[in-house]
C-alpha cells in the first residue's frame, strides 16, 4: 500500500477502472493520522469516528476535482479540520438548549469516556485546551501533539507562519497558567 505516492493514488482514482479500490488505498494511508487529528479536537471516540466518515465522504466526492498542484495530505487535513469545527459548532448549538456549556459537557464526557485513560494531569491539560478558542486549540494540537512544521500548518489552515507562531505562544502561556492555578 505504502509504495504508492499521493500522485499515483490520485491518478489511479481518476483514470483507473476501480476508483473504490484507489480511494480505499488513500483511506488506509491516511485514516490513522486523520483520526488522531480529529480525535484531539472532538475528544470522544464515537464523535471522531463520525467526523472521520464525513471527512472521507467529502474527500470521495471532491477528489475528482482535486488539483494535483496541492498536496493530498494537506487537502485531507483541511477537510478534517473543517469537519471537526462543524461538528463542534453543531454541539455548541445543541448545548444552547441544555444548561451546560460545551466545554463543561465535553469535560464531563471525557471523564466518563472508557476510551480516555489519561491521569489527572492529562485530564487537566484537556480541560485547559477546552478553555482555548478553537483556532488556538487546533494550532496547539498540531504543533504540540502532532509535531507539525509551521509551514505545513500554514498550508492546511491557510494562514501565515507568523500568526501561527503567535497563536501557539499565546495558547502555551494560557495552558501553563491554567495548570499552575489548578
Amino acid at each position: 500500500m505504502s509504495e504508492y505516492s499521493d500522485d499515483e493514488l490520485i491518478n489511479l482514482f481518476k483514470t483507473g477502472n476501480n476508483p473504490n479500490y484507489a480511494f480505499n488505498l488513500i483511506v488506509k494511508k491516511y485514516q490513522e493520522r486523520l483520526y488522531w487529528h480529529i480525535r484531539r479536537l472532538v475528544l470522544i471516540h464515537e464523535d471522531a469516528d463520525d467526523v472521520l466518515q464525513n471527512t472521507l465522504l467529502k474527500a470521495w466526492l471532491g477528489l475528482e476535482k482535486f488539483q494535483s498542484n496541492a498536496q493530498l495530505y494537506t487537502w485531507l487535513y483541511r477537510i478534517a479540520t473543517n469537519e471537526s469545527l462543524n461538528h463542534l459548532n453543531k454541539q455548541k448549538r445543541k448545548s444552547l438548549f441544555s444548561f451546560q456549556s460545551l466545554e463543561k459537557q465535553l469535560s464531563n464526557q471525557l471523564k466518563a469516556d472508557s476510551y480516555f485513560e489519561g491521569d489527572e494531569i492529562q485530564y487537566k491539560l484537556q480541560q485547559a485546551l477546552l478553555k482555548l478558542p478553537e483556532k488556538q486549540r487546533i494550532v496547539f494540537n498540531m504543533k504540540y501533539f502532532e509535531e507539525m512544521k509551521y509551514e505545513e500548518m500554514a498550508d492546511i489552515l491557510e494562514t501565515s507562519v507568523g500568526a501561527l507562531k503567535a497563536s501557539y505562544h499565546i495558547a502555551t502561556k494560557k495552558i501553563e497558567e491554567f495548570l499552575k492555578s489548578n
Binding site: 471516540h45 466518515q53 476510551y115 485513560e117
Partner: protein, 126 residues
C-alpha cells in the same frame, strides 16, 4: 521541566476500540451520513409541524366556538331593553307578509271576476 514537557513524554491517553484501524471501513455511499443528519432534522421538523398544526387547529376551533347561545330569556331581555313590544313585532311580521303576498291590481280583478265575487260581498265580509 514544566508540566507541558512532562505530559508530552507520557503515552497518548486517548484509546480506540481493539482492531478499530484494522477493521475501519469507509462506505462511499453519499446518502449514508447525509441521510443520518437529515433524518435527525426531519424528525424535529416533523414533530414541530405536528405540534404547530394541532396548536393552530385547537386555537381556531376555540375562537370559532360561540361563547353565548341565544335563549328565550336573552331574546326577551333584548326586546325589553330595546323597547320593542309584541305589537311592534306583529306589525313588522305583517309588513313582511304583505310584501311577499303583494299582487297586482289586475290579478285581483281577474280573481274576483273569475270567482264571481262582488265588491259588496267583500264589504259585508269586512
Amino acid at each position: 521541566m514544566n508540566d507541558l514537557e512532562k505530559i508530552k513524554k507520557q503515552t497518548n491517553p486517548f484509546k480506540v476500540p481493539p482492531g478499530y484501524f484494522e477493521n475501519f471501513e469507509f462506505n462511499p455511499n453519499p446518502s449514508t451520513p447525509i441521510k443520518k443528519g437529515f433524518k435527525k432534522y426531519a424528525f424535529v421538523i416533523y414533530s414541530f409541524s405536528l405540534v404547530l398544526f394541532f396548536g393552530i387547529f385547537y386555537f381556531l376551533n376555540k375562537s370559532n366556538t360561540p361563547t353565548n347561545t341565544i335563549t328565550n330569556e336573552s331574546i326577551t331581555e333584548y326586546l325589553y331593553w330595546q323597547d320593542i313590544n309584541e305589537d311592534d313585532l306583529i306589525e313588522a311580521y305583517d309588513a313582511n307578509d304583505e310584501q311577499t303576498l303583494t299582487a297586482s291590481d289586475e290579478a285581483i280583478m281577474d280573481y274576483l271576476i273569475e270567482n264571481d265575487i262582488a265588491i259588496t260581498d267583500i264589504n259585508e265580509e269586512l
